[in-house]
Amino acid sequence: MPKLEELRDAYNEARALCDKRIIVCAGTGCIANGSMKVFEALKNAIALSGLEVTVSLKSHDPKEHKHHDVYMIGSGCQGFCQVGPLVTIEPAGIMYGHVKPTDAEEIVAQSIVKDEVIERLLYHDPVSGTAYKGPGEIPFYVRQQRTGLKDCGRIDPSNISEYIAHGGYFSARDAFMKYDAEALCNLYKESGLRGRGGGGFLTGLKWDFARKENNEKKYVVCNGDEGDPGAFMDRSILEGNPHSVIEGMMIAAKAIGANEGYVYVRMEYPLACSRIREAIATAEEYGILGDHVFGSKESFHINVMEGAGAFVCGEETALIASIEGKRGMPSPKPPFPAQKGLFGKPTVINNVETLALVPIVMQKGVEDFRKVGSAKSPGTKTFALTGHVANTGLIEVPFGTTIREIVFEIGGGVFDKDGKINNDAFKAVQIGGPSGGCLTREHLDLPLDFDSLGSIGAMVGSGGMVVMNDSTCMVETARYFMTFTQHESCGKCVPCREGTRQMLEILEDITKGEADEESLELLQEAGEAVKITSLCGLGKSAPNPVLSTLRYFRDEYEAHVKAKYCPTKTCKALSPISIDPTLCRGCTLCKRVCPVGAISGEVKKPHVIDPMVCIKCGACIATCKFKAIS
């Protein structure tokens, strides 16, 4: 039986012998920006400077403990992908961004050998230009409350001792040693922990349904099929802190009486797949997973399954079909997976982020956990903040935080179409991806939680949060999401298969200027029908982006169908014809040929076209001798 206390203490002792620690972000984003080259360059530069560096701390055997000048690790995603590759130096708490391999020597000379800060590599506020030393000061981090992500980007995901030293696996051990299944379910019901994958169902209640099923074989499945474009928290957790997911699965397994688990990961996330595989193998080696969990009579094994590219597999019944080697099509509920799931056995399916929070709930205790967030949505939620916002990345905030705080404070403000920070350019936040809706300026102060978002036609969904400025066409955005869901519809039920196609065709007509006002009514009606009658969550939520934009940006839709005009000039067919005032000589020829009288202007002065009247016949373009009209 592994003694967690011994492993923890041994690690802490070995760690205390290291003077400094360099953390290079090795998440997908930073690796894409070349962080591994930075890692190698730093390692070489340290060696050249005569300091002693280790990249794998051996802590098990106290006899091997020795002094190191620098302990270097590659961490999981630190969240601030925008300024990657990120390099953090502890204990000074310095964070450098956009680090290049050529910066390595300077970093070692200034910040490792000496304790000085290199100003130019620090994060600078895009508006004020103020430099911030590190995560302890950067507004992006300071205003967050990182809980599930706390150790993501701080620990070495491939070193189990580090996870244990941060309190890891103690909760799972308690679950197996001190609790029975019913008590565990009750604890999680009381905590109010709700599923972070979208629906927001009470985790403890879901477990309790599966627990009550009388069956020798039960399964715990971790849903890491993060197909929602614009969300990447599951990837980051699997890459950055895979042991937390394993521990969450172990607690779930004990709570329902399961002895086998599956982690279902998208194949688009190769790094997440390899990290979780490696973590499972290590946990087995330590006797944490396996035939005798923590030396007990109970067993728990975890398999990893890579998805093959189907968004609908995020739906739990479709995910089950996929693990069984079938086409990933959903099936009607009931029976619920808790009754009849994987291979016909009672199955609990939890999302990655939910599972990562499970051990934390036990660590903190129910009361402490409920102190954060709102009464019905306790705790924190991770959002992937992207789009037209200064600081993109992964953030974690308590439920009840407002969009204003997220976009303008943590996000650092909105980009306008010229790439400058201008908060007046804010138009909308699309939340929850293809299943969610758009929030507008009027929702800036709405406290975000499961229920408040549901009440305005959006949903937390997986937590993708895409900020859009006023150069974004909402009709085009709705069309974009509909293209996605239509393409990903599995085709099993008619409302989703045919309904999404009809909706997409109407939206295409609108963006091409081939629709009339009646189309909007038809679109609304079709959307509501698909929402009510579809078989699974994909279809039920597919109309959300359309319905919510119809609700909040009706004038934009009307401009497309009535005036045949795209206010943001995004839809090419509906971008108005205009006269270049620098080329126009005021010859009035165009005014005379215009069949609808859309052109006005005095002789020898530049003319203008009224886009609301213009029918885009092109007569003026053909007539103009100065090529002033386009």
Binding site: C81, G227, P229, F232, E268, G307, A384, G387, H388, G464
Partner: protein, 166 residues
């Protein structure tokens, strides 16, 4: 079809893969993934061979192979270019890059591989690197905050290298 016959027709690698996954019907997806890794696509005769080995109908196997977008029944080009068209990439201008690449390689959303089998260009819905949007992946190397010009330059570089090697 006997194992000897199969071996004679160089299905050895497929047989290894089937054995690795216990010839289990539940493991169809990992089997197809491994086969695609080997052949870069799923050749029809290999699919028929797998179906026979697993004692399932070819239709069942084709059903799975055509359902998931990762599986390709058509051979792919030597260089695979993927443009992310997830939400974050879309609002940050992936469409312009997609148009430029298709234009250069004479491809469309239907025709994704060049006639000389040099390039396959596809769009994917999200690579999870939204902080770097828009994102282009050229032969597994990720390029963030890409512009149309940079994308075309990357392709030109590959074309030049191929010409030198030819």
């Amino acid at each position: 079809m006997s194992a000897e016959y199969a071996a004679a027709h160089s299905f050895n690698k497929v047989i290894d893969i089937l054995d690795r996954f216990d010839r289990s019907e539940a493991k169809i997806i990992p089997i197809l993934q491994a086969v695609q890794e080997e052949y870069r696509y799923l050749p029809q005769e290999v699919l028929t061979f797998i179906a026979t080995s697993l004692r399932i109908s070819p239709a069942r196997l084709f059903g799975v192979a055509t359902f998931y977008s990762h599986f390709s029944l058509e051979p792919k080009g030597k260089h695979i270019i993927k443009m992310c068209d997830g939400t974050a990439c879309h609002v940050r201008g992936s469409s312009a890059v997609i148009d430029a690449i298709r234009n250069k390689l004479n491809l469309s959303d239907k025709k994704i591989t060049t006639d000389d089998m040099m390039f396959t260009f596809e769009t994917v819905s999200c690579l999870g690197a939204c902080g770097l949007a828009p994102v282009l992946v050229v032969d597994d190397e990720v390029h963030g905050q890409i512009t149309a010009e940079q994308a075309l330059e990357l392709i030109s570089n590959i074309e030049e290298k191929e010409k030198e090697n030819a």
